[in-house]
Protein backbone atom coordinates (compact mmCIF):
# COMPACT_ATOMS: atom_id res chain seq x y z
CA UNK A 1 0.00 0.00 0.00
CA UNK A 2 2.87 2.32 0.63
CA UNK A 3 3.86 2.33 -3.01
CA UNK A 4 0.25 3.01 -4.20
CA UNK A 5 -0.01 5.94 -1.80
CA UNK A 6 3.33 7.34 -2.85
CA UNK A 7 2.61 7.15 -6.58
CA UNK A 8 -0.79 8.78 -6.07
CA UNK A 9 0.67 11.60 -4.03
CA UNK A 10 3.43 12.01 -6.60
CA UNK A 11 0.79 12.48 -9.32
CA UNK A 12 -1.10 14.94 -7.13
CA UNK A 13 2.04 16.94 -6.48
CA UNK A 14 2.69 17.08 -10.20
CA UNK A 15 -0.82 18.39 -10.84
CA UNK A 16 -0.55 20.98 -8.09
CA UNK A 17 2.86 22.08 -9.19
CA UNK A 18 1.31 22.72 -12.60
CA UNK A 19 -1.13 25.21 -11.10
CA UNK A 20 -0.86 28.86 -10.19
CA UNK A 21 1.88 28.65 -7.61
CA UNK A 22 4.62 28.73 -10.26
CA UNK A 23 5.78 32.19 -11.39
CA UNK A 24 4.41 33.42 -14.75
CA UNK A 25 6.59 32.70 -17.81
CA UNK A 26 8.52 35.60 -19.41
CA UNK A 27 6.14 35.49 -22.41
CA UNK A 28 3.23 36.35 -20.13
CA UNK A 29 5.15 39.16 -18.45
CA UNK A 30 5.98 40.56 -21.91
CA UNK A 31 2.37 40.24 -23.01
CA UNK A 32 1.12 42.12 -19.94
CA UNK A 33 3.65 44.92 -20.56
CA UNK A 34 2.80 45.12 -24.26
CA UNK A 35 -0.92 45.34 -23.53
CA UNK A 36 -0.38 48.03 -20.92
CA UNK A 37 1.63 50.06 -23.44
CA UNK A 38 -0.94 49.58 -26.18
CA UNK A 39 -3.84 50.57 -23.92
CA UNK A 40 -2.07 53.85 -23.11
CA UNK A 41 -1.24 54.56 -26.77
CA UNK A 42 -3.27 56.06 -29.63
CA UNK A 43 -4.76 52.59 -30.12
CA UNK A 44 -7.29 53.29 -27.35
CA UNK A 45 -8.97 55.85 -29.60
CA UNK A 46 -7.84 54.93 -33.10
CA UNK A 47 -7.70 51.11 -33.05
CA UNK A 48 -10.28 50.00 -30.44
CA UNK A 49 -11.12 46.74 -32.24
CA UNK A 50 -7.47 45.66 -32.33
CA UNK A 51 -7.02 46.63 -28.70
CA UNK A 52 -10.07 44.58 -27.77
CA UNK A 53 -8.67 41.56 -29.61
CA UNK A 54 -5.41 42.03 -27.74
CA UNK A 55 -7.25 42.17 -24.43
CA UNK A 56 -9.08 38.92 -25.19
CA UNK A 57 -5.84 37.22 -26.21
CA UNK A 58 -4.21 38.31 -22.95
CA UNK A 59 -7.22 37.10 -20.93
CA UNK A 60 -6.92 33.71 -22.64
CA UNK A 61 -3.23 33.50 -21.73
CA UNK A 62 -3.93 34.52 -18.14
CA UNK A 63 -6.65 31.88 -17.86
CA UNK A 64 -4.33 29.25 -19.24
CA UNK A 65 -1.68 30.29 -16.74
CA UNK A 66 -4.14 29.87 -13.87
CA UNK A 67 -5.52 26.58 -15.07
CA UNK A 68 -2.64 24.91 -16.84
CA UNK A 69 0.41 26.54 -15.32
CA UNK A 70 3.31 28.42 -16.86
CA UNK A 71 4.30 25.90 -19.55
CA UNK A 72 2.66 25.27 -22.94
CA UNK A 73 0.12 26.34 -24.06
CA UNK A 74 0.35 29.38 -21.74
CA UNK A 75 3.66 30.46 -23.26
CA UNK A 76 2.25 30.22 -26.78
CA UNK A 77 -0.95 32.04 -25.88
CA UNK A 78 1.09 34.76 -24.17
CA UNK A 79 3.41 34.99 -27.20
CA UNK A 80 0.36 35.53 -29.42
CA UNK A 81 -1.17 38.00 -26.92
CA UNK A 82 2.00 40.09 -26.90
CA UNK A 83 1.91 40.39 -30.68
CA UNK A 84 -1.79 41.24 -30.71
CA UNK A 85 -1.04 44.08 -28.31
CA UNK A 86 1.81 45.27 -30.56
CA UNK A 87 -0.52 45.09 -33.57
CA UNK A 88 -3.03 47.28 -31.72
CA UNK A 89 -0.37 49.85 -30.87
CA UNK A 90 1.13 50.02 -34.35
CA UNK A 91 -2.33 50.12 -35.96
CA UNK A 92 -3.13 53.13 -33.79
CA UNK A 93 0.03 54.83 -35.09
CA UNK A 94 -0.90 53.93 -38.67
CA UNK A 95 -4.41 55.37 -38.37
CA UNK A 96 -2.96 58.55 -36.87
CA UNK A 97 -0.49 58.84 -39.78
CA UNK A 98 -3.28 58.33 -42.31
CA UNK A 99 -5.27 61.04 -40.59
CA UNK A 100 -2.27 63.39 -40.73
CA UNK A 101 -1.75 62.63 -44.44
CA UNK A 102 -5.35 63.38 -45.24
CA UNK A 103 -5.22 66.64 -43.33
CA UNK A 104 -1.98 67.71 -45.02
CA UNK A 105 -3.42 66.82 -48.44
CA UNK A 106 -6.48 68.92 -47.78
CA UNK A 107 -4.39 71.84 -46.57
CA UNK A 108 -2.20 71.43 -49.65
CA UNK A 109 -5.21 71.68 -51.96
CA UNK A 110 -6.61 74.64 -50.05
CA UNK A 111 -3.27 76.41 -50.18
CA UNK A 112 -3.00 75.68 -53.91
CA UNK A 113 -6.41 77.21 -54.54
CA UNK A 114 -5.53 80.17 -52.37
CA UNK A 115 -2.26 80.60 -54.27
CA UNK A 116 -4.08 80.41 -57.58
CA UNK A 117 -6.53 83.08 -56.45
CA UNK A 118 -3.68 85.26 -55.29
CA UNK A 119 -1.84 84.83 -58.60
CA UNK A 120 -4.98 85.72 -60.54
CA UNK A 121 -5.47 88.78 -58.39
CA UNK A 122 -1.86 89.80 -58.87
CA UNK A 123 -2.08 89.36 -62.63
CA UNK A 124 -5.26 91.37 -62.70
CA UNK A 125 -3.80 94.26 -60.72
CA UNK A 126 -0.58 94.08 -62.75
CA UNK A 127 -2.57 94.31 -65.96
CA UNK A 128 -4.57 97.18 -64.58
CA UNK A 129 -1.43 99.02 -63.52
CA UNK A 130 0.11 98.50 -66.95
CA UNK A 131 -3.01 99.74 -68.70
CA UNK A 132 -3.03 102.81 -66.48
CA UNK A 133 0.64 103.48 -67.18
CA UNK A 134 0.06 103.15 -70.93
CA UNK A 135 -2.86 105.51 -70.73
CA UNK A 136 -0.76 108.03 -68.85
CA UNK A 137 2.02 107.80 -71.44
CA UNK A 138 -0.47 108.24 -74.28
CA UNK A 139 -1.96 111.30 -72.59
CA UNK A 140 1.48 112.76 -72.00
CA UNK A 141 2.43 112.12 -75.61
CA UNK A 142 -0.73 113.88 -76.76
CA UNK A 143 -0.12 116.94 -74.62
CA UNK A 144 3.55 116.89 -75.63
CA UNK A 145 2.52 117.02 -79.26
CA UNK A 146 0.45 120.10 -78.48
CA UNK A 147 3.25 122.11 -76.91
CA UNK A 148 6.23 120.79 -78.85
CA UNK A 149 7.05 119.63 -82.32
CA UNK A 150 7.48 115.87 -82.38
CA UNK A 151 8.93 114.35 -85.55
CA UNK A 152 10.19 110.91 -86.52
CA UNK A 153 13.57 111.15 -88.23
CA UNK A 154 16.43 108.82 -89.08
CA UNK A 155 18.23 109.77 -85.87
CA UNK A 156 15.12 108.85 -83.83
CA UNK A 157 12.12 110.64 -82.39
CA UNK A 158 12.90 114.35 -82.13
CA UNK A 159 11.05 116.54 -79.63
CA UNK A 160 11.70 120.19 -80.34
CA UNK A 161 11.07 122.70 -77.57
CA UNK A 162 11.13 126.40 -78.30
CA UNK A 163 13.95 128.26 -76.53
CA UNK A 164 11.71 131.15 -75.52
CA UNK A 165 9.42 128.80 -73.63
CA UNK A 166 12.29 127.25 -71.65
CA UNK A 167 14.66 130.11 -70.89
CA UNK A 168 14.87 133.90 -70.58
CA UNK A 169 17.04 135.52 -73.21
CA UNK A 170 20.72 134.83 -72.64
CA UNK A 171 20.03 132.68 -69.50
CA UNK A 172 20.10 128.99 -68.92
CA UNK A 173 17.93 128.58 -65.78
CA UNK A 174 14.70 126.74 -66.57
CA UNK A 175 11.52 128.81 -66.36
CA UNK A 176 8.71 127.36 -64.20
CA UNK A 177 6.62 126.65 -67.29
CA UNK A 178 9.62 124.77 -68.72
CA UNK A 179 9.63 122.39 -65.77
CA UNK A 180 5.98 121.52 -66.41
CA UNK A 181 6.72 120.80 -70.03
CA UNK A 182 9.71 118.69 -69.19
CA UNK A 183 7.59 116.72 -66.71
CA UNK A 184 5.36 115.79 -69.65
CA UNK A 185 8.41 114.74 -71.61
CA UNK A 186 9.64 112.58 -68.75
CA UNK A 187 6.23 110.94 -68.35
CA UNK A 188 5.88 110.33 -72.06
CA UNK A 189 9.29 108.66 -72.21
CA UNK A 190 8.94 106.66 -69.00
CA UNK A 191 7.06 103.87 -70.72
CA UNK A 192 9.15 103.65 -73.88
CA UNK A 193 12.15 101.54 -74.54
CA UNK A 194 15.10 103.55 -75.85
CA UNK A 195 18.81 103.10 -76.29
CA UNK A 196 19.85 106.63 -75.45
CA UNK A 197 18.60 110.18 -75.30
CA UNK A 198 20.62 113.11 -76.62
CA UNK A 199 19.69 116.66 -75.63
CA UNK A 200 20.93 119.27 -78.05
CA UNK A 201 20.98 123.00 -77.37
CA UNK A 202 20.75 125.37 -80.42
CA UNK A 203 20.96 129.17 -80.77
CA UNK A 204 20.44 131.69 -83.54
CA UNK A 205 23.48 133.18 -85.28
CA UNK A 206 23.49 136.52 -83.40
CA UNK A 207 26.35 137.19 -81.02
CA UNK A 208 29.76 135.54 -80.72
CA UNK A 209 29.77 131.91 -81.88
CA UNK A 210 31.81 130.85 -78.80
CA UNK A 211 29.21 132.46 -76.48
CA UNK A 212 26.46 130.72 -78.43
CA UNK A 213 28.25 127.37 -78.11
CA UNK A 214 28.61 127.84 -74.34
CA UNK A 215 25.02 129.00 -73.86
CA UNK A 216 23.58 126.17 -75.95
CA UNK A 217 25.58 123.60 -73.95
CA UNK A 218 24.54 125.11 -70.61
CA UNK A 219 20.90 125.08 -71.68
CA UNK A 220 21.10 121.46 -72.85
CA UNK A 221 22.71 120.55 -69.54
CA UNK A 222 19.96 122.33 -67.59
CA UNK A 223 17.37 120.25 -69.43
CA UNK A 224 19.37 117.07 -68.90
CA UNK A 225 19.83 117.54 -65.17
CA UNK A 226 16.16 118.34 -64.75
CA UNK A 227 15.07 115.19 -66.64
CA UNK A 228 17.51 113.08 -64.60
CA UNK A 229 16.08 114.60 -61.40
CA UNK A 230 12.68 113.40 -62.63
CA UNK A 231 13.91 109.81 -62.71
CA UNK A 232 15.40 109.39 -66.17
CA UNK A 233 18.54 107.23 -66.18
CA UNK A 234 21.60 109.49 -66.06
CA UNK A 235 23.77 106.99 -67.95
CA UNK A 236 21.44 107.08 -70.97
CA UNK A 237 20.89 110.83 -71.22
CA UNK A 238 23.60 113.11 -72.61
CA UNK A 239 23.78 116.84 -73.44
CA UNK A 240 25.41 118.68 -76.34
CA UNK A 241 25.79 122.40 -77.20
CA UNK A 242 25.72 123.06 -80.96
CA UNK A 243 25.40 126.87 -81.02
CA UNK A 244 24.10 128.10 -84.36
CA UNK A 245 25.73 125.38 -86.42
CA UNK A 246 22.45 123.62 -87.22
CA UNK A 247 19.98 126.36 -88.02
CA UNK A 248 16.63 125.18 -89.28
CA UNK A 249 15.28 128.57 -90.34
CA UNK A 250 16.35 131.96 -91.72
CA UNK A 251 18.50 133.88 -89.23
CA UNK A 252 17.62 137.08 -91.13
CA UNK A 253 14.06 137.34 -89.76
CA UNK A 254 12.82 137.56 -86.13
CA UNK A 255 10.52 134.53 -86.63
CA UNK A 256 13.33 132.51 -88.22
CA UNK A 257 15.71 133.33 -85.38
CA UNK A 258 13.03 132.35 -82.82
CA UNK A 259 12.69 128.99 -84.54
CA UNK A 260 16.43 128.46 -84.44
CA UNK A 261 16.57 129.09 -80.65
CA UNK A 262 15.52 125.65 -79.47
CA UNK A 263 16.29 122.49 -77.53
CA UNK A 264 15.98 119.16 -79.31
CA UNK A 265 15.48 115.93 -77.39
CA UNK A 266 16.47 113.01 -79.60
CA UNK A 267 15.23 109.61 -78.51
CA UNK A 268 17.31 106.89 -80.15
CA UNK A 269 15.28 103.74 -80.51
CA UNK A 270 16.41 100.41 -79.09
CA UNK A 271 17.08 98.07 -81.96
Amino acid sequence: MISIKSSLSFSLVLVMFGCATAPPPPELLDARKAYERASKSLAAQLAPAELDTAQQALAKAEKSYEEEGPEAPTQDLAYVAERKAQIAEVTGAKVAADRDSKLADKQFKDAQLEGLDKTKQELKSEKKARAEAEKKVAAAMASLAEMAKVTEEDRGMVITLSGSVLFKTGKYDLLPIAREKLNEVATALSGSNYKAIVIEGHTDSQGKPSDNDTLSLKRAESVRSYLVSQGMPSDKVSAKGLGSSRSIDDNGTPDGRANNRRVEIIVQPNK
Binding site: S7, A72, V80, Q86, V90, A93, S101, Q107, F108, G115
Partner: protein, 122 residues
Protein backbone atom coordinates in the same frame (compact mmCIF):
# COMPACT_ATOMS: atom_id res chain seq x y z
CA UNK B 1 -4.93 -8.16 -6.39
CA UNK B 2 -1.32 -7.62 -5.52
CA UNK B 3 0.20 -4.29 -4.60
CA UNK B 4 2.38 -4.51 -7.66
CA UNK B 5 -0.61 -4.76 -9.97
CA UNK B 6 -2.36 -1.80 -8.37
CA UNK B 7 0.77 0.32 -8.68
CA UNK B 8 1.08 -0.66 -12.31
CA UNK B 9 -2.56 0.26 -13.01
CA UNK B 10 -2.09 3.75 -11.58
CA UNK B 11 0.90 4.32 -13.82
CA UNK B 12 -0.89 2.94 -16.86
CA UNK B 13 -3.80 5.31 -16.29
CA UNK B 14 -1.48 8.28 -15.80
CA UNK B 15 0.61 7.57 -18.89
CA UNK B 16 -2.46 6.71 -20.96
CA UNK B 17 -4.09 10.03 -20.10
CA UNK B 18 -1.03 11.99 -21.03
CA UNK B 19 -0.78 10.15 -24.35
CA UNK B 20 -4.39 10.99 -25.22
CA UNK B 21 -3.67 14.60 -24.39
CA UNK B 22 -0.72 14.69 -26.83
CA UNK B 23 -1.28 12.39 -29.74
CA UNK B 24 -4.99 12.81 -30.34
CA UNK B 25 -4.97 16.22 -32.09
CA UNK B 26 -5.45 16.41 -35.89
CA UNK B 27 -2.63 17.96 -37.95
CA UNK B 28 -3.16 21.80 -38.23
CA UNK B 29 -3.12 21.96 -42.04
CA UNK B 30 -5.55 24.85 -42.40
CA UNK B 31 -3.87 26.97 -39.76
CA UNK B 32 -0.51 26.32 -41.42
CA UNK B 33 -1.85 27.40 -44.83
CA UNK B 34 -3.34 30.52 -43.25
CA UNK B 35 -0.02 31.41 -41.61
CA UNK B 36 1.82 30.87 -44.91
CA UNK B 37 -0.53 33.21 -46.76
CA UNK B 38 -0.13 35.64 -43.87
CA UNK B 39 3.60 35.70 -44.57
CA UNK B 40 2.98 36.24 -48.31
CA UNK B 41 0.53 39.06 -47.57
CA UNK B 42 3.03 40.80 -45.30
CA UNK B 43 5.73 40.49 -47.99
CA UNK B 44 3.43 42.01 -50.60
CA UNK B 45 2.66 44.88 -48.21
CA UNK B 46 6.40 45.67 -48.07
CA UNK B 47 7.41 43.90 -44.84
CA UNK B 48 10.89 43.30 -46.24
CA UNK B 49 11.50 47.06 -46.41
CA UNK B 50 10.85 47.82 -42.74
CA UNK B 51 13.32 46.44 -40.14
CA UNK B 52 10.68 45.60 -37.51
CA UNK B 53 8.37 44.01 -40.05
CA UNK B 54 11.31 42.07 -41.45
CA UNK B 55 12.18 40.65 -38.01
CA UNK B 56 8.68 39.30 -37.45
CA UNK B 57 8.48 38.02 -40.99
CA UNK B 58 11.60 35.99 -40.25
CA UNK B 59 10.17 34.68 -36.96
CA UNK B 60 6.98 33.65 -38.76
CA UNK B 61 8.88 31.77 -41.47
CA UNK B 62 11.09 30.02 -38.95
CA UNK B 63 8.09 28.90 -36.93
CA UNK B 64 6.26 27.67 -40.00
CA UNK B 65 9.29 25.48 -40.78
CA UNK B 66 9.35 24.26 -37.18
CA UNK B 67 5.63 23.46 -37.27
CA UNK B 68 6.07 21.42 -40.45
CA UNK B 69 8.81 19.40 -38.78
CA UNK B 70 6.63 18.81 -35.71
CA UNK B 71 3.77 17.61 -37.94
CA UNK B 72 6.10 15.18 -39.67
CA UNK B 73 7.14 13.90 -36.25
CA UNK B 74 3.46 13.45 -35.35
CA UNK B 75 3.43 16.12 -32.65
CA UNK B 76 0.34 17.90 -33.95
CA UNK B 77 -0.59 19.62 -30.72
CA UNK B 78 2.79 21.32 -30.42
CA UNK B 79 2.66 22.08 -34.16
CA UNK B 80 -0.67 23.90 -33.73
CA UNK B 81 0.80 26.06 -30.99
CA UNK B 82 3.85 26.93 -33.09
CA UNK B 83 1.60 27.74 -36.06
CA UNK B 84 -0.40 30.12 -33.88
CA UNK B 85 2.85 31.90 -33.04
CA UNK B 86 3.75 32.07 -36.73
CA UNK B 87 0.35 33.58 -37.56
CA UNK B 88 0.74 36.22 -34.86
CA UNK B 89 4.19 37.18 -36.18
CA UNK B 90 2.94 37.35 -39.77
CA UNK B 91 0.05 39.61 -38.68
CA UNK B 92 2.43 41.84 -36.77
CA UNK B 93 4.80 42.03 -39.75
CA UNK B 94 1.89 43.18 -41.91
CA UNK B 95 0.86 45.80 -39.35
CA UNK B 96 4.41 47.16 -39.17
CA UNK B 97 4.71 47.27 -42.95
CA UNK B 98 1.43 49.14 -43.36
CA UNK B 99 2.25 51.57 -40.58
CA UNK B 100 5.69 52.29 -42.09
CA UNK B 101 4.03 53.11 -45.41
CA UNK B 102 1.47 55.39 -43.80
CA UNK B 103 4.12 57.20 -41.78
CA UNK B 104 6.20 57.75 -44.91
CA UNK B 105 3.20 59.12 -46.76
CA UNK B 106 2.32 61.43 -43.90
CA UNK B 107 5.87 62.74 -43.82
CA UNK B 108 5.87 63.36 -47.57
CA UNK B 109 2.50 65.08 -47.47
CA UNK B 110 3.76 67.32 -44.71
CA UNK B 111 6.91 68.19 -46.65
CA UNK B 112 4.91 68.99 -49.78
CA UNK B 113 2.65 71.26 -47.78
CA UNK B 114 5.65 73.00 -46.22
CA UNK B 115 7.22 73.61 -49.64
CA UNK B 116 3.99 75.02 -51.08
CA UNK B 117 3.48 77.31 -48.10
CA UNK B 118 7.03 78.57 -48.48
CA UNK B 119 6.46 79.21 -52.21
CA UNK B 120 3.26 81.09 -51.54
CA UNK B 121 5.00 83.35 -49.05
CA UNK B 122 7.55 84.42 -51.67
Amino acid sequence: MSRKLATRMVWVVTIGLSLVACGGAPPPHDALTAAQSGVKGAEVAGATEDPKAQLHLKLASEQIAKAKQLMEDGDNEEAALVVSRAQADADLALAYAQAAKSLKQAKEADEQLGKLKKQLKE
